[in-house]
């Protein structure tokens, strides 16, 4: 196939992704009068944002005094000082505005008696610079993400945004100068490959949690945006930082909320011991997420895991009154029966620390512009949401800050596009002669491969390697072995074979193409993690322990910097953390303790 056989569609802007961040960006563009295309692998309101239940944070102060500066402090501290303070200030200052805007878009927030948005407490939300808990989370019952997505989608329908549903973007188009000119995408229903030629391209493709064997993320989170960016020569930032949730159902990954331990659930090892008593004598099973996760992994690594492979621990609620379980935890009982085959009234639930959220991503500034290593924006390229790294979450995300990130940076990336177009910074450029060559070669290889590797088996191998070698608790030798293994798996990914060669609705092909993206994310994660010789936030190494000189294993003298992983040669470089906020004083480095 030559380039000329690919149809080209021209837009002012193309957005890849129709979750919270993509839809928020699309509102800016469509209402700003730009001809905008939004591509999505699924119908917009099926995006993974739906899964978010907890809420979205904003210092509205509806129930008690609150201030964006306190929110900023909590976020910097939560990030273990790896977050950029300009971006964090921007996000926290903008929070009340974007949340109220969302309310005006029709978001059915829970209300106080006076009709204001109701706010509830959440882990890590404090008033007066860490003094005492404050109510900052705004929610719509336990369906905040769902409600948010519907409100944003309706607004887009009104603004005539053009959606391309069940289309998969395959690659970025860049010219010789590095400017981004759109994407190449595959329509699943026809198998047709089309170029979306745009002045501006926004990536809002969400996370990549499926690189892990045990993940709370839906199957759709295959890191396509990261894969596309990496193949196009864009470095990925801070990919070693992944947030884990202590209690995912072993195997399935489905989340069991902290509420179960709140109701009296106990974690036990193969000796039936309540092991948290040893690790956290006071808080025990209710210690913070990272403490519990690490304790679980230590138990498993020291041979006290349960089951035939000794690879999980047990969450026990059998001592609770069945009536209490039926009344307070009915959903959890159902989940356990369906996904672990166990009725928790009779037997404990097998659980493992489970991958939940990706802090790293495509490097951007707080305006949503993708930036090169020197901080200069990549012309025509923008990113927002979980795929992007602004970086507001640094080494560890605070609960409810992700939904906020979608709103703030979805909006700011849209505003940047409008401004860059209006000022002529970006305009339509001709597509280069060979713009589709690599993508078509990739598709051709997949169509003609014989004697190759199986997609499912290779994906499983990748996921097991990440789980074992780069999980919640990291070990020097395991990381090094993991890097060697992932390089081998990469070879298998380059030789995947699919039996179904048909054009229309070829899901085998799509899954092979998703695997092409997963491998880039897995490599970036392992290589970045192996290199970072400290513990910080979610990246915890056995050989970087808590000492007087380096509390919690954090080594600011050598490692207070962002990682940048480049696909070419799988090489690393580093850039400084922005410590200067926009208007307030720097929040100086301090030991993170709660």
């Amino acid at each position: 196939m030559s380039n000329s056989s690919i149809p080209v569609r021209k837009f002012d802007a193309v957005i890849v992704g129709a979750g919270g961040s993509g839809l928020r960006a699309a509102i800016q563009l469509s209402e700003g009068g730009l001809k905008t295309a939004v591509l999505s692998k699924v119908f917009p309101t099926r995006s993974h944002t739906v899964a978010a239940q907890g809420g979205v944070s904003a210092s509205l102060g509806n129930s008690e005094e609150d201030h964006w500066h306190w929110h900023m402090y909590d976020t910097v501290k939560g990030s273990d000082w790896l977050g950029d303070q300009d971006a964090i200030e921007y996000m926290c200052r903008m929070a009340p505005e974007v949340v109220v805007e969302l309310e005006h878009f029709g978001m059915p927030f829970d209300r106080t008696d006076e009709g204001k948005i109701y706010q509830r407490p959440f882990g890590g939300h404090m008033s007066n610079f860490g003094e005492k808990p404050v109510r900052r989370a705004c929610a719509a019952a336990d369906r905040t993400g769902h409600a948010m997505l519907h409100a944003l989608y309706q607004r887009n329908v009104r603004a005539n945004t053009q959606f391309f549903v069940e289309w998969m973007a395959l690659d970025l188009i860049r010219d010789e100068s590095g400017q981004v000119l759109g994407v190449i995408a595959l329509e699943m229903e026809t198998g047709e490959v089309v170029a979306f030629h745009a002045k501006a391209t926004i990536f809002a493709t969400g996370g990549a949690g499926r690189i892990y064997y045990s993940s709370t993320n839906a199957f759709i989170n295959t890191g396509d945006g990261l894969g596309m960016a990496a193949r196009a020569g864009i470095a990925l930032e801070d990919m070693e930082f992944w947030q884990f949730h202590p209690t995912g159902v072993a195997g399935a990954g489905v989340l069991i909320t902290e509420g179960v331990r709140g109701e009296g659930g106990i974690l036990r090892n193969s000796d039936n011991e309540r092991f948290m008593e040893r690790y956290a004598p006071n808080a025990k099973d209710l210690a913070s997420r990272d403490v519990v996760s690490r304790a679980m992994v230590t138990e498993i690594n020291e041979g006290r895991g349960c089951g035939p492979n000794k690879d999980f621990v047990l969450l026990d609620i059998t001592h609770l009154d069945p009536a209490t379980i039926m009344k307070r935890l009915p959903g959890i009982r159902e989940i356990s029966i369906q996904f672990a085959g166990i009725d928790p009234i009779q037997a404990p639930i097998p659980v493992v620390p489970t991958c939940h959220y990706q802090m790293g991503g495509i490097p951007t500034n707080y305006k949503g512009q993708v930036v090169a290593a020197d901080g200069v924006p990549v012309k025509g390229f923008y990113a927002a949401g979980e795929v992007a790294c602004a970086s507001v979450h640094g080494a560890n995300r605070l609960g409810t800050n992700s939904l906020l990130d979608l709103l703030v940076f979805g909006k700011s990336s849209g505003d940047s596009v409008i401004e860059d177009l209006a000022t002529g910074k970006v305009a339509h450029q001709d597509l280069p002669e060979n713009f589709a060559e690599r993508t078509l070669a990739r598709l051709h290889r997949l169509n003609t491969q014989t004697g190759g590797s199986d997609v499912n088996e290779t994906r499983l191998e990748l996921q097991r390697t990440m789980q074992k070698h780069c999980g919640v608790f990291r070990f020097k030798d395991m990381l090094a072995e993991g890097v060697a293994k992932i390089v081998e798996i990469e070879k298998a990914v380059a030789r995947t074979e699919i039996k179904d060669k048909s054009q229309v609705w070829n899901t085998a092909r799509v899954e092979a193409l998703e695997l092409d993206n997963l491998i880039e994310v897995a490599k970036a994660t392992l290589v970045s993690a192996e290199a970072r010789k400290e513990s910080r936030g979610a990246h915890v190494r056995d050989d970087a322990p808590d000492t007087a000189e380096n509390p919690n294993g954090r080594d600011d003298a050598n490692w207070h910097k962002h990682t940048l992983w480049q696909r070419e040669g799988s090489s690393l470089s580093y850039k400084p953390v922005t410590m200067t906020p926009l208007t307030v004083e720097t929040i100086a480095l301090k030991t993170r303790s709660y």
Binding site: K41, V42, T45, R46, S47, H48, T49, V50, A51, R143, H146, E166, M188, E189, S215, T216, N217, A218, F219, I220, G251, A252, G253, V254, L255, G331, E334, I335, I337, Q338, F339, G341, D500, S502, V504, W505, N506, T507, V510
Partner: protein, 84 residues
Amino acid sequence: MDERERINRLRWRCTRRAMLEMDLLLGEFLERIFPTLGPAQADAFIILADMEDLELWPLINGSRECTDSVQAEVVALLRDVRVK
């Protein structure tokens, strides 16, 4: 649309959903139970798979009533799925 296309489209809609729980449940159902369904039940399942997760979940956990008896049969089968 031929049978392969029909099944593949359904597979995408069963395994690329908003919530992991639903990917697992509908994916497992499609592999193991769907091939055993009669035509009316198969049609009912396709309608269920086209629903959003937060419409479908209340049917599965019984907090919302099914609209007809065939749908109720399929939902009962879904409820019995044990993900391996």
